[in-house]
Amino acid sequence: MLEYNIAYILTNPIFVFAIFKLYRTFFDKLAYSKRVEKASYFLYFVFISVIIFVTRIPIINLIITALFLFINSFNYKSSLQRKIIIPSLILSILFVIEMIVSVIFGYIDISIVNDSSFNSAVGIILIRVVTLIVAYLINKLMQARNNNLKIPKIYYLAFTVIQMGTLYLYIVSLESNNLSIQSILMRGAILIIINLTMILIDEKIYYSMVIQSEKQMLKEQNIVYEKQIKLMDQSTRAMKVLKHDMKNHLTVLHGIYSKRNSEESDVYFQRIIDEIEGNDYSQSGNFIIDSMINFKLGQLRKTNYQLSLDLNIPQKLDVSTYDLTVILGNLLDNAITAIKKADRKLLDLSISCSMGNLIIILKNSYNGPLKIENGKFLSTKKNKENHGIGLSNIKQSLNNYDGEIRLEYSKDIFSAHVIIPYIN
């Protein structure tokens, strides 16, 4: 049993690391500090490494793992419901991996398997390595989905092939005669090192992808600003023309007034006012917000829709340009996509400040055939998610301010309420 114990203790760190990765996948906020989190995983590692010398009854091991999983969930901020569901899910993931590996392993016909003492040592190495790979892949897939990163599927395939391939090579290498426990463990160690190195490389690639998508975002932002500068330049020119024309306008008005035709003068006044307002939608004076709204609404210039804009905001806000662009940009993108598809076209945007909070209220029409069965909405949740392209980006930016977004929808109107506290 010594072989098993050595392999077990040596692979414990990667097993604990796999559990850690799974928790980080499903929970995003720590309840205490990173130090407490680290300490609890370390304690668990020590505990399972020591307990092996006391008992090896599988059911007790299972209970210990289950207990740890449930207690560990209190390291993270979430509802009680999630604190019960997630550990159960993780426990079943671990259990299923162990079952599958054992079953497959049982079918492989290699000489070493017949020696029961080697058998269990190799088995535990395989189970742990597969657990690590699976946990890591789940983590990456969820993270990429949350951050809206477009990582090609071939990338995941290559990653899996390399990881599984090395596993296969490890099993095949056990075919040779006169294997000692040292060589099994040595090969196992190499296998683990290869896997960990792959994970490290992958992390680096992942972060470079994140940086790239941020760069892309900034590039788009620059285009938006350029357009706004052009718009402002246009309106300055229009103002100059208007000033020049003012004398003519006044002469006409004088004429109309002397005839006391108020209806005609009303129309005339409105025309001059419209001319001063120019053709940009948003003139709140806040450069970032104006740029974003004018650029995005420009996409609807050819669409016949009802627009209501109400902006009461300071010229400068203590909200970072980047976050404001992400939040407003994604909100407007979603709304515009929905309006284009909708029969009734309506956009109602109101941004204001109150009690140190920037408040965005956005309402848009959408074609949402909500399925109704027995008087209940069936697919309301689905609609919510469909609307959520870029929603996670908005949420991420809002997190920096402890802000929040609330979504509501009726039969054909979708509304988003965003609160950003900007005073600390």
Binding site: D310, P314, S352, H417
Partner: protein
């Protein structure tokens, strides 16, 4: 009785607003008195001697002193946090300071008849609530306090601490009991506090900064309710603008 001040350096704008107010007065059963000022200084001078106004229509781009200066003077020097201020503006873009004097609303030039009336209506609605009073028993005396003067209540054991602009006092009661007697602008940010939402200067995620500078903690659970009210109030103001 509603006291309205109109302050704009443009006489023409003043008379437009005044006409709309008079027009509103004819439609409603509330008695309205208006006072017109052509400069910020005159309004400040008037307020030094006379009573405060319920509602002030204040131009942002006044002559020498800006509307912000006047509003700040009213809030800080005269310590008047009750008068409702509606800013009148033709400018694109506001200063951030403008939002620190708790304006009731903004109206853009050219002045729209309906929007202005909606603003008066909103002010009346708020003032009606604020002019009510709250009564509590201390010993054998019954003490009355105007809702508009109350900042918050704090539960301290079996006693309740009431905090107003004029100081604080203690009496025996429970927050639950008090809440039932008060209008719904009184909200619990935390188990042992009941605050007047209209007196919040800054609503942060962890605490509410009150007008007297005291920070009241907000519990995670109740932040949602607080923000609901913030959005609800904002919608109401918005409805008066469009």
């Amino acid at each position: 009785m509603l006291n309205i001040a109109i302050c704009d350096d443009n006489e023409h704008i003043c008379s437009i607003i005044e006409e709309i107010v008079i027009d509103y007065n004819k439609e409603s059963d509330i008695e309205i008195k208006t006072e017109v000022f052509y400069s910020g200084e005159k309004l400040v001078e008037y307020l030094k001697i006379e009573d405060k106004f319920d509602l002030i229509f204040l131009d942002i781009e006044l002559g020498n002193t800006t509307g912000i200066d006047v509003a700040r003077h009213i809030r800080n020097e005269f310590n008047d946090h009750i008068s409702k201020i509606v800013f009148i503006t033709s400018k694109d873009g506001y200063e951030q300071e403008l939002f620190e004097v708790q304006p009731l609303n903004f109206i853009k030039k050219p002045i729209n008849n309906i929007k202005l009336k909606k603003c008066i209506q909103l002010a009346i609605k708020l003032l009606k609530i604020e002019n009510k009073s709250f009564r509590y028993k201390k010993g054998h005396d019954i003490i009355r306090v105007a809702i508009k003067d109350i900042l918050y209540f704090e539960s301290k054991g079996k006693k309740i601490k009431i905090v107003t602009y004029n100081g604080s006092n203690y009496f025996y009661d429970s927050l639950k009991n008090i809440k039932e007697k008060l209008p719904k602008v009184f909200i619990k940010p935390h188990g042992s506090f009941l605050i007047n939402f209209n007196k919040v200067k800054a609503l942060k995620s962890k605490c509410a900064l009150m007008e007297n500078g005291i920070e009241i903690p907000i519990s995670q659970r109740r932040l949602n309710n607080m923000r609901n009210m913030l959005i609800e109030f904002e919608q109401e103001k918005r409805d008066a603008r469009i």
